[in-house]
């Protein structure tokens, strides 16, 4: 449903959704609530008893600040969210800024993940802006003794239309705060949007490039000490014994102590802590992961996938239809564990005192940090203040709280504020990896080249089973995201999941299980198209419903890429599309091969994520998703040796470099649908677009990532 049609429901605010929380002299301050997800939205505003978790302040000097509980990871939320509010407020964008929120359980869910920030904040931010606008207009009308209808708001001022007089928001703020909060406010028509839809520059760009932005690693407290931790290289290992004599003798070392996860060295500086940590001699009790290697993990997957597995989706008679098919294709796909490798290594500054604690941390989940630290410190959560700092990338790694637990344990034991700093090797070897997975597929098609059957069996570790072993397993399992809900029409389908847990820590990695399942789906559909001797674009198109949003992006990307026309220059072209986080993305990749080197020259993308708040940020997110997904396709692999991650630094876990980055051309579907996610959906289809292009060029089908050409 388009926004403009939502007259009866969403165009009005419900009573109690927004509160004035101003104190005298502060101007107009409204508190409102951003829900954790869309479903909760309507139920949360029923009775007017809500606690704000977001604030809008219009100061007497005319500056507008928005406080929201979302972490800036480079995805642009600190710009996109204020834009939505400023649109309805009719604010002067040059006076709008953003302040981060402090974690508190009363503020509700603050996690930044699942490409949710814009999706769930869209309507509440618009309503908050509209309420403030109406209160400012009402106070101006009162000042002039004019009718509300004779006034309008524009660019940070209220204008009296007949006389042309105007009053700035700053001058009206105090008076507006005394106006009743209107329960029904009109929302703007999309066609009158001035801010939303513009490629406005990010609010934080200058600080970042001048070196003045403060990331977690940059934050200091007076009297702060720095710690480095020696952790068991084998997953789940514990300290058997240790010798710290040499470490303690080094300059700048204050203390050495044992914590749950290993041995911590506390020092005056980062370098002193690193040096002393390396001087420790620790003997580990390796535990049950001892001796486990990549082959052993593959054996677990093989054993599990041949069992029944949980049937997540079954329609028609998939096995019977396979028997009757005119043509059949079978294949096995395999994907590795992947590290996040965000540029800023994990770090956390904790100041745990007897009666309270304060934490400064680049995290995507400040409230999980709060809960975890409260437990370590023996405090109730409201005694723990979590300051979310700027983060040097996240990609899902900062949803975990392990680094904060370490910092809290060390600070508590040391009785001082302590910043725990991980070096790159710590970060690579103690990640929560994108799960490895094994996939077995079968498909059948009829004499006209129509899919008649699709069977997809998945073996992979469950992130939630490892993290929340006592919780009821989610249904459907996250591991089938993008597999069970495959968008192609097929009358007989079976998708099953064999949970295959290993001691390797697993976690959320940009687009989560969509990253594996889109590669598998979109490679295998290409295989079926090739077997049926149908063009891969035509094959996909034919199997997508006519009104499908995925079909629209498929068609747009194909036409912009010149699908069907010769590529020239020895290049091959491949296509792949996928829907995740309620958005739709198609990539067409152009590649060439020289010896063992695969080059990706150009990626043409089409995206439908509903209304676009900031097209420049959207384009950057697609470029970023292409880069991360391409790194995974070309290079990403964490092998397991003796229960450890066999990587250490960027020499053995290489990232894409500049000359390997293709030109990315982003085409956006114009839409009046509500905005959906954009941080993740660009990632899943890039790897299969590249491997499908390789197939069209060379006939080589890649069923295992990363791509290793034999030359």
């Amino acid at each position: 449903m388009g926004v403009t049609e939502m007259k009866t429901d969403a165009n009005t605010t419900r009573r109690g959704f927004i509160k004035v929380v101003s104190v005298a002299g502060a101007g107009l301050v409204l508190g409102f609530h951003l829900p954790a997800n869309e479903k909760k939205f309507n139920s949360e505003y029923g009775d007017g008893n809500f606690t704000p978790n977001a604030w809008l302040k219009i100061a007497p000097d005319g500056s507008v600040s928005v406080t929201v509980a979302r972490t800036e990871l480079g995805q642009g939320v600190r710009t996109a969210l204020p834009m939505i509010l400023a649109e309805e407020l009719e604010a002067d964008w040059s006076r709008v800024g953003i302040e981060p929120a402090v974690a508190d359980p009363k503020y509700g869910e603050m996690t930044t993940g699942g490409s949710t920030s814009v999706r769930v904040s869209w309507m509440p931010l618009r309503k908050a802006g509209a309420v403030a606008r109406e209160m400012l207009i009402a106070s101006a009308a009162l000042t002039w003794g004019a009718l509300r209808e004779s006034c309008r708001a524009e660019n940070g001022s209220v204008i009296h239309i007949p006389s042309g007089r105007s009053l700035s928001y700053g001058s009206l703020a105090e008076k507006a705060a005394k106006q009743p909060v209107p329960s029904d406010v009109p929302l703007k028509d999309l066609k009158n949007f001035k801010i939303v839809g513009q490629s406005l520059p990010r609010l934080d760009s200058r600080d970042k490039i001048q070196g003045s932005a403060v990331y977690g690693l940059d934050f200091r407290l007076p009297g702060m000490l720095t710690a480095a931790v020696s952790r068991s290289p084998v997953f789940g290992g514990t300290v058997k014994s240790y010798d710290d004599k040499k470490a303690r003798s080094l300059p700048g070392v204050r203390n050495v102590l044992q914590i749950q996860r290993g041995i911590a060295v506390i020092a005056d500086s980062t370098w002193a802590a690193f040096q002393a940590r390396d001087a420790l001699s620790v003997i580990w009790e390796e535990g049950k992961a001892s001796g486990l290697g990549s082959a052993g993990i593959r054996a677990i997957f093989d054993e599990r996938i041949t069992g029944e597995g949980a049937e997540v989706r079954r329609e028609g008679d998939p096995l019977g239809a396979l028997e009757k098919a005119a043509g059949k294709v079978e294949a096995e796909y395999e994907l590795p564990f992947l590290a996040h490798a965000q540029m800023e290594p994990m770090n956390c500054l904790a100041d745990v005192r007897k009666d309270s604690a304060e934490i400064w941390v680049p995290t995507q989940s400040p409230q999980w940090v709060q809960g975890a630290v409260a437990e370590v410190a023996g405090l109730s959560p409201e005694k723990v203040i979590v300051h979310t700092t700027l983060a040097g990338g996240g990609f899902g790694r900062r949803l975990m709280v392990d680094y904060a637990i370490e910092a809290a344990q060390i600070s508590k034991a040391a009785g001082a504020p302590v910043k725990v700093v991980w070096n790159r090797e710590d970060d690579m070897r103690h990640d929560y990896y994108r799960p490895a997975s094994l996939h077995r597929l079968k498909a059948g098609y009829d004499g006209t080249g129509k899919l008649t059957s699709w069977v997809h069996r998945i073996a992979a570790p469950s992130i939630s089973a490892q993290l929340f072993p006592d919780a009821k397993p989610e249904n459907p399992p996250y591991a089938v995201d993008g597999a069970a809900n495959i968008q192609y029409n097929v009358p007989n389908i079976l998708v099953s999941y064999s949970m295959s847990n290993t001691p390797v820590p697993v976690g959320w990695w940009r687009s989560v299980y969509n990253s594996q399942n889109a590669f598998v789906n979109e490679s295998f559909i290409d295989e079926v198209a090739a077997a049926a001797k149908v063009d891969p674009f035509d094959f996909r198109r034919k199997h997508l419903p006519e009104d499908s949003r995925l079909r629209k992006v498929l068609e747009l990307a194909a036409s912009e890429a010149g699908w069907g026309k010769p590529t020239g220059g020895g290049r091959g072209r491949g296509i792949a599309c996928h829907s995740s986080f309620d958005s739709f993305v198609c990539h067409v990749a152009e590649v060439s091969v020289s010896g063992k080197i695969l080059r990706v020259h150009r990626v043409v993308s089409a995206v439908d994520c509903g209304i676009v708040v900031n097209p420049a940020i959207l384009r950057a997110q697609i470029e970023g998703a292409v880069a991360l997904g391409l790194t995974a396709a070309l290079k990403g692999e964490v092998n397991i040796e003796n229960g450890s991650a066999a990587i250490g630094n960027f020499d053995d876990y290489p990232l894409l470099i500049m000359e390997e980055m293709p030109e990315v051309e982003v085409h956006i579907i114009k839409s009046n649908e509500e905005p959906t996610g954009i941080g993740e959906p660009g990632l899943p289809p890039i790897a299969p677009a590249v491997t499908n292009a390789l197939f069209s060029l060379t006939g080589v089908r890649i069923r295992k990532l990363p791509i290793r050409l034999t030359g």
Binding site: L217, S269, W271
Partner: protein, 155 residues
């Protein structure tokens, strides 16, 4: 410990540190200049890039004693000039996402355009190959460098 005299962005700084301490940690921990970033500690990612006597250097593997008596420039020094073409070009091209690697990228780019006034794509690829970005800002960086080089010529 030893007393070492450093010239950072034109200012003389006396620091009392272990002579083998990497320049990166002296800048960050001792001098509290945190624009220079820690990424890998082994000269593999470029986040810690500074200039030593005008040459781009990985401060994470440069012992501070090596930099004594030499001219050190960090991102804070380069950014003192608000009209610096690289800063302007980075803003115009909206390069930054998470932004963490960008000070290092800019320092490497500055050393490049000081030598090559009209850098080709190949020059840029080669000079920037040691600066990693996980957010995928590479094509914007290349465009920003080309733009800045053009502006620098006109200055």
């Amino acid at each position: 410990m030893a007393s070492i005299s450093l010239t950072v962005n034109g200012d003389i700084k006396l620091v009392d540190v272990i002579p083998e301490t990497p320049l990166l940690w002296v800048l960050r921990d001792t001098l509290r200049m945190t624009g220079t970033k820690f990424g890998c500690g082994r000269g593999l990612c470029g986040a810690c890039t500074v200039h030593i006597d005008g040459e781009a250097a990985h401060s994470c593997i440069t012992p501070v004693e090596y930099a004594e008596g030499k001219k050190i420039t960090t991102i804070e020094g380069l950014a003192r000039d608000p009209q610096n073409p690289l800063i302007r070009a980075w803003l115009l091209e909206e390069v930054s996402q998470c932004g963490y690697c960008q000070p290092g990228q800019i320092m490497t780019a500055a050393a490049l355009i000081a030598k090559r006034t009209k850098p080709t794509d190949a020059d840029i690829n080669s000079a920037m190959s040691g600066n990693l970005c996980r957010c995928g800002t590479y094509t914007r960086i290349r465009r920003a460098i080309q733009r800045a080089a053009t502006w620098e010529l006109r200055r």
